[in-house]
């Protein structure tokens, strides 16, 4: 949970840090070795987004992803949840400002969904990404944190379901 190192050479992976800022918030930070417009492009181009959003350690296939990435637009991610079950994550974009800010709602769990804000801050060819999740209650935040505690190996789909349900898209 230390500060992100910005002086690492390009060949080293930048570190992802997490900070539970308040009882209802989580802040994730990560530096990318690219200008903000490239990070923004990778985030907002659906065929590129599909390639990184679901880590390989998560044996969960993304079946479809539709997104109208602009203020007022919506998104919908559908995952294969095992057998014939699918699981959908959806919400609206509250704000989309090119190369600097994306804010969206996570509506799959109803009114209690978190609001996610991503900001991109460019500094000498690097971009600091700050992802801020604001939950409606401490309980909702703790549930999201708790369900993230999986080791990515030998997990059943049930456990992964939990991870995805509460993490939101």
């Amino acid at each position: 949970m230390s500060a992100t190192k910005n002086n690492e050479p390009d060949t080293t992976k930048n570190r992802t840090t997490i900070e539970p800022k308040s009882e209802r918030e989580i802040v994730v930070t990560r530096t990318f070795n690219a200008p903000a417009r490239i990070v923004f492009q990778a985030w907002t181009t659906p065929e590129l987004f599909r390639r990184w959003w679901v880590p390989k350690s998560m044996p969960m296939a993304l079946l479809s992803y539709e997104a109208d990435i602009r203020t007022g637009g919506g998104y919908r991610l559908v995952f294969d949840a095992g057998g014939t079950n699918t699981m959908a994550f959806f919400g609206k974009y509250i704000e989309v400002t090119p190369h600097s800010r994306i804010v969206w709602t996570n509506d799959e769990s109803g009114e209690d969904g978190a609001i996610t804000t991503v900001t991109l801050e460019e500094k000498s060819d690097k971009t600091l990404l700050v992802l801020h999740e604001l939950y409606r209650s401490k309980e909702a935040r703790d549930a999201a944190l708790g369900s993230g505690a999986y080791d990515g190996m030998g997990e059943t789909f049930d456990q992964l379901d939990e991870v995805l349900v509460t993490l939101g898209a």
């Binding site: 997490i18 490239i38 990184w52």
Partner: protein, 120 residues
């Protein structure tokens, strides 16, 4: 100190890697319960539940106390550790996402360089 914390975190993390054990913690967060009650709630044998509670107890996440013939379970002393382990799991998800995003970004940067060269 760091290493001791790491070892303890490993135990917490391993304890939390199971959906039933996470369920037990959630349950105990609401109210203390006996092993029998937990076994019933999670549709499990007493022996199975004892094993899960044992793992949680060794990680310090659950404390048990035997009164008469009933063993009562409650949340253990390491609430902070529980939170830290949860946060670490969450961090790993984002870290693996962002490591993949790095690859996409490198590709875009290469493509941009080629496009620029072609323009000249």
């Amino acid at each position: 100190m760091v290493q001791r914390l790491d070892t303890r975190l490993d135990a917490s993390f391993a304890a939390l890697s199971d959906a039933t054990r996470r369920g037990v913690l959630e349950q105990l967060g609401r109210a203390d319960a006996s092993i029998t009650e937990l076994a019933e709630r999670f549709h499990m044998t007493l022996t199975g539940m004892k094993k899960h509670v044992g793992v949680l107890e060794r990680a310090g996440l659950v404390a048990t106390e035997k009164v008469g013939r009933v063993r009562t379970c409650k949340l253990g002393p390491s609430r902070l550790e529980l939170e830290t382990a949860w946060i670490e799991g969450y961090r790993q998800l984002w870290a693996s996402r962002f490591d993949e995003l790095d690859k996409v970004i490198e590709e875009l940067k290469r493509k941009e360089k080629i496009d620029e060269r072609n323009k000249k």
